[in-house]
Symmetry: C2
Subunit: 350 residues, 2 copies
């Protein structure tokens, strides 16, 4: 099976996907008769390039990060045209990985709508459109028999949505709680060992965990988006951001973080949610003091973890990286491979 | 889609599967057009019963645990006939959940062969046939386009094989290490807090974690079987049990377990494996002293956990229950639902 990809946004994550495709070119197809090519790339800064026969992956990986760089491709242009690429390209799958305004979800939300309206599968690592408009996009996808997948929006490449939907199918998931922001978790760990909040944030930035503006990481709004996405994926419910109590770690003092640690407790920034038997969903983002014996207490540094409360198994926890270029690029690949797996005749793998 | 099940062995796990089917009767079919019925049960002690229209699930759940009890069903008999039930029943799926001799895999191994040879999907929670003969059974299943699934053999209902094969498809898994025996883990935890090994084992037995004969739990041979199964599932390699160094926790002293804990370390019984680029697989079962910061160090009581070493994500860890009647019954259901999911037209869920 041959899938043609259109990449909308060609920052670190989309580049990582191309890098993985180039490096694993000989492995992926062998497995399942799968063939993947990139037929279009459009990026605000870099311009656009299209080739129905597939762009050269090595050339894309090595593309200089300079304005208009895609113009160097045969038929490439220095000016992007996301709308035209999404609507008119020969792609089967649109990979949406732009930057997004978290208030409006734009421009990613329009990209997502155009992709599904023009009959293309949609995979995205972009939290905005999923947190804000998953219900609408899911409906659009279902109406046309298309995929709308977003595994990478919660814990990057660490699988949580697919774990719940596929591996735990048959269980009822009544709640979740997780460490969903690696920067906040890293900072709390550093403060425990004696560093100031400001120095810990600076260290997180120097290691590439924290954004230049760490407000969303530290203030809880990044976790809030993820909690909204999980409410959608696990409970099939759309919740407004304004309905969710949201506190970051800025209200904690260094002294109380250290005192807790000394007494066998850990302060963690948690995203939590539960669904009552009547369907009522309660979500929250808040720092919580956990006893050392809690499985989430030992999650260190930028690692993320999510505990799912299930009826038949009790708590099941998945932990792994929660961010990263290659890690999130893999999440996009995982979404693409899942489309392929569902299009195949049964092979009765696990 | 309607699947007819034949249950071979009707101990706690198979009963739990029936209990889940009865309790979730109204939930599972709604989801996906799935219908499940139990058309045959055969058990060494309880006898056998067959009904192509489906046996009464509530009556099966309430079946007295007395020799020959299945004779009370219309057409039931006090004497089992596993071979006839497997070969001649109208079942689509054979659920193998008997007790097994770990040396020979029998009688479960014969049950497994008969199921596949007679064209029926096979799901099992039985470690023996998988650890000893997965290569042969996989080949038989593939040749006939049948499922051979065994998620419950490693960590009961906590998904690990399916996590690796489905959620992490596209990653290379180069190694694993895990806490794969809840009894041994519980015992070590109790010894850390001052109990003797003997008292801790007795407590594990009284709580239902340990078998009447705890030798396999404490001596490492239970973990050894799981490590062989993981080598098969993750590395596609058949390894002989005799080729795997295997040590249980009986060589540890109470003093050294407590001394390690006091110094910020934990003794854990680990099953480990890795595959080299040339395909060479190394497996081991041994008690290992972990620093407190290791994600496996904080796995408490009867909980199990498995860390997968991946090329694109680094370590990804799944933890949850590693045993239990309902938990393992769910694993069988998960295997059945996976057969169904693969037989469906694409729905492009995650």
């Amino acid at each position: 099976m041959h899938y043609r990809l259109a990449l909308i946004g060609f920052g670190g994550v989309a580049r990582a996907l191309v890098e993985i495709l180039r490096n694993k070119g000989n492995e992926l197809p062998q497995k399942d008769g799968l063939e993947l090519s990139v037929v279009a790339v459009s990026d605000l800064r870099l311009g656009m390039a299209e080739d129905p026969d597939g762009l050269d992956l090595a050339a894309l990986v090595d593309l200089p990060n300079e304005p208009g760089a895609l113009a160097a491709f045969s038929g490439g242009r220095a000016e992007p045209d996301n709308e035209a690429v999404i609507k008119r390209s020969t792609a089967d799958i649109v990979v949406e990985a732009t930057f997004t305004n978290p208030e409006t979800g734009e421009p990613a939300l329009s990209h997502c709508r155009w992709a599904l309206e023009s009959g293309k599968h949609l995979v995205t690592s972009n939290k905005g459109p999923v947190a804000l408009a998953a219900a609408e996009l899911t409906k659009k996808a279902e109406a046309k028999g298309l995929a709308f997948s977003y595994e990478g929006t919660v814990m990057s490449g660490t699988p949580v949505i697919r774990t719940a939907e596929q591996c735990l199918a048959g269980c009822h998931i009544a709640g979740f709680r997780g460490i969903l922001n690696g920067t906040a978790n890293f900072v709390l760990g550093q403060v425990e060992t004696g560093m100031s909040f400001d120095d810990a944030i600076a260290l997180a930035q120097s290691r590439g965990y924290a954004e230049a503006d760490p407000t969303a990481d530290i203030g809880g709004s990044d976790v809030l988006m993820k909690v909204l996405i999980l409410a959608r994926a696990l409970f099939d419910q759309a919740v407004e951001a304004s309905a969710v109590p949201c506190q970051g770690i800025t209200g904690l003092s260094e002294a109380e973080v250290r005192a807790a640690k000394a007494e066998g407790h850990r302060w963690k920034l948690l995203g939590q949610g539960s669904v009552a038997p009547d369907g009522h969903v309660a979500l929250e983002v808040a720092p919580i003091m956990l006893p050392d014996s809690d499985p989430l207490a030992s999650i260190e540094g930028p690692t993320n973890a999510l505990t799912l409360d299930t009826d038949l198994l009790g708590p099941v926890t998945v932990s792994g990286p929660g961010a990263g270029r290659i890690e999130t690029g893999f999440a996009l690949l995982a979404d693409i491979l899942a489309i392929h797996a569902q299009s195949q005749p049964p092979r009765y793998r696990q």
